[in-house]
């Protein structure tokens, strides 16, 4: 497995000419965005001035509507402006980085993990009304099949006045890998929000009453129990998968990412969802590509995703699958 150091060197050394070229493009784009932003704001103010009869008839509803409209057009304009830059960043920087991690890996900037696979993972039980994603990577690492992409699943809500709002079910990195043990039931590991909110007695009682899930599986590792809640259709199989060392590895993974982690073992596969509050592998327009922090963010996320194989020792063919 390539180290973060190796990948950072690759980012700076091998990709340097491309980075410089993109950095120029980024600066020009940044100026363009600022100019368009000012233009949009001035145009907005002028329209507002005429609509309110020279700022005389202003009411709060109108101000809110106007701010929203301005924000929405700004976001739309921004998306159009950065489209080409984002696309060349992905093919010129992210793709070579992924190939540097492993030659076997295939990258598609537009494709995503299918919605069916996301639903079948049983990680999220809410009904999905809108599903999107990008940055699809698939291939084999150390003889383990791995596929991941950015995913955003949302639910639609309508209030009594017919207004529509969207809430996020999950946004972040979604990873599917093969697992080194045979299992026929499903085991779901979720962040333990109930115990954190209500304490262990009431929290654990609430968890056992979760109707959307299978039986509660209490694990014999207090540190793991504190962070996660496990549901499974087979008490023995859940423990067959979650050995003490596996629980420790999952805890380490959570510590390393610092994000909520969801894991399920379903249909012979392992599904892993790591919540991020932003789109991954998207180029930043307002920060230099040559800045260390910016570079590290891409490299670290990619390396961590791939290192999961090593972290969870998925390539260990000691057990049933030889």
């Amino acid at each position: 497995m390539k180290s973060i150091g190796h990948l950072t060197d690759f980012y700076y050394n091998t990709l340097y000419p491309t980075l410089q070229e993109l950095e120029e493009q980024r600066r020009a784009l940044k100026d363009k965005i600022i100019k368009f932003g000012i233009l949009l704001a001035v145009a907005g103010l002028l329209i507002f001035y005429f609509l309110t009869d020279g700022f005389k008839s202003i009411d709060t509803d109108m101000i809110i509507f106007f701010i929203f409209a301005l924000g929405a057009s700004g976001a739309f304009l921004y998306k159009i402006l950065i489209k080409d830059y984002a696309s060349s960043f992905k093919t010129k920087i992210i793709e070579p980085l992924i190939h540097e991690i492993d030659d076997n890996l295939r990258y598609d900037p537009v494709y995503k993990i299918e919605e069916r696979i996301f639903i079948d993972s049983k990680l999220f039980t809410d009904k999905i009304d809108r599903y999107s994603g990008n940055d699809y990577v698939t291939g084999k690492i150390d003889s383990v099949d791995i596929t991941f992409s950015d995913v955003h699943a949302e639910q639609k809500h309508e209030d009594s006045k017919g207004r529509t709002t969207w809430s996020t079910i999950f946004k972040g990195l979604f990873i599917v890998t093969s697992f080194n043990k045979y299992f026929s039931n499903s085991t779901i590991i979720l962040p333990d929000s109930a115990e954190n909110l209500f304490g262990s007695v009431i929290g654990s009682w609430l968890q056992s009453k979760n109707l959307a899930r299978n039986q509660l599986v209490k694990m014999d590792d207090p540190a793991f129990e504190k962070e996660f809640v496990v549901y499974g259709s087979d008490q023995i199989e859940a423990r067959y998968i979650l050995t003490h060392s596996m629980m420790k590895r999952i805890l380490d993974l959570k510590k390393k990412t610092g994000k909520p982690v969801y894991i399920s073992f379903v249909n012979g596969q392992m599904n892993l969802a790591i919540e991020y509050d932003k789109d991954l592998f998207e180029p930043s327009v307002f920060r230099s590509l040559l800045e260390y922090q910016v570079a590290m963010e891409y490299v670290k996320t990619l390396q961590l995703t791939v290192a999961i194989i090593e972290e969870l020792k998925l390539n260990e063919r000691l057990w049933s699958k030889r």
Binding site: D220, Q235, H244, S245, R322
Partner: protein, 184 residues
């Protein structure tokens, strides 16, 4: 009317307590069924293992005889859960000794049949370990219920007694790595 409500609530509480105790007792029995099934898988493997290694292991004859004897004891009908748990501990230790001894015989280590048996045994050990942990959790929930107030009163009325758990070795608790234990 108030009295009726009080009686109804009290009856409901008693029913809930009774049902929860029965559910916990059944969960223990149900999971012990799973433990039994994997233990049986291991017992089935023992004659093969003994046959494959006995030709070579002259100095370990006593361990092999012991494991065969323990196996026949474990296969006797009518054993209590407690006796099964005790036999399991002894067999785990005896099998561990055999696997450690295999290391001293280069011919055995290279023997495909033995390697295959080692692999199967390692796999079964991990299943047994999972079954033991599931059983211990079910027993702990059950024991807690029959010792804690107010379910303890209902439990003594139902004459439910405490159950034993499997003692899991410190090494196993840290990391269920039978690979290291068997040094394969």
């Amino acid at each position: 009317m108030t009295i009726l409500i009080i009686i109804a609530v009290a009856a409901l509480i008693l029913i809930l307590m009774y049902n929860s105790l029965i559910a916990k007792k059944n969960q223990v029995e149900n999971i012990f069924g799973g433990v039994d099934a994997v233990l049986k898988k291991r017992y089935d493997l023992i004659p093969n293992l003994v046959a494959s290694v006995s030709k070579y292991m002259e100095h370990e004859k006593s361990i092999l005889e012991n494991v065969t004897k323990l196996r026949s004891e474990a296969n006797k009908p009518g054993l209590s859960d407690k006796e099964k748990i005790e036999l399991d501990t002894k067999i785990t230790s005896a099998l561990g000794s055999i696997m450690v001894a295999v290391e001293n015989y280069p011919d055995l280590k290279a023997n495909e049949n033995v390697m295959n048996l080692q692999h199967n045994l390692t796999e079964i050990e991990s299943q047994i370990s999972a079954a033991r942990r599931a059983y211990n959790q079910a027993v702990t929930d059950y024991n807690n219920a029959i010792e804690m107030f107010p379910t303890n009163m209902m439990a003594s009325f139902m004459s439910l007694g405490k159950k034993d758990v499997f003692v899991i070795s410190e090494g196993e608790r840290k990391n269920v790595n039978v690979k290291e234990m068997f040094n394969s």
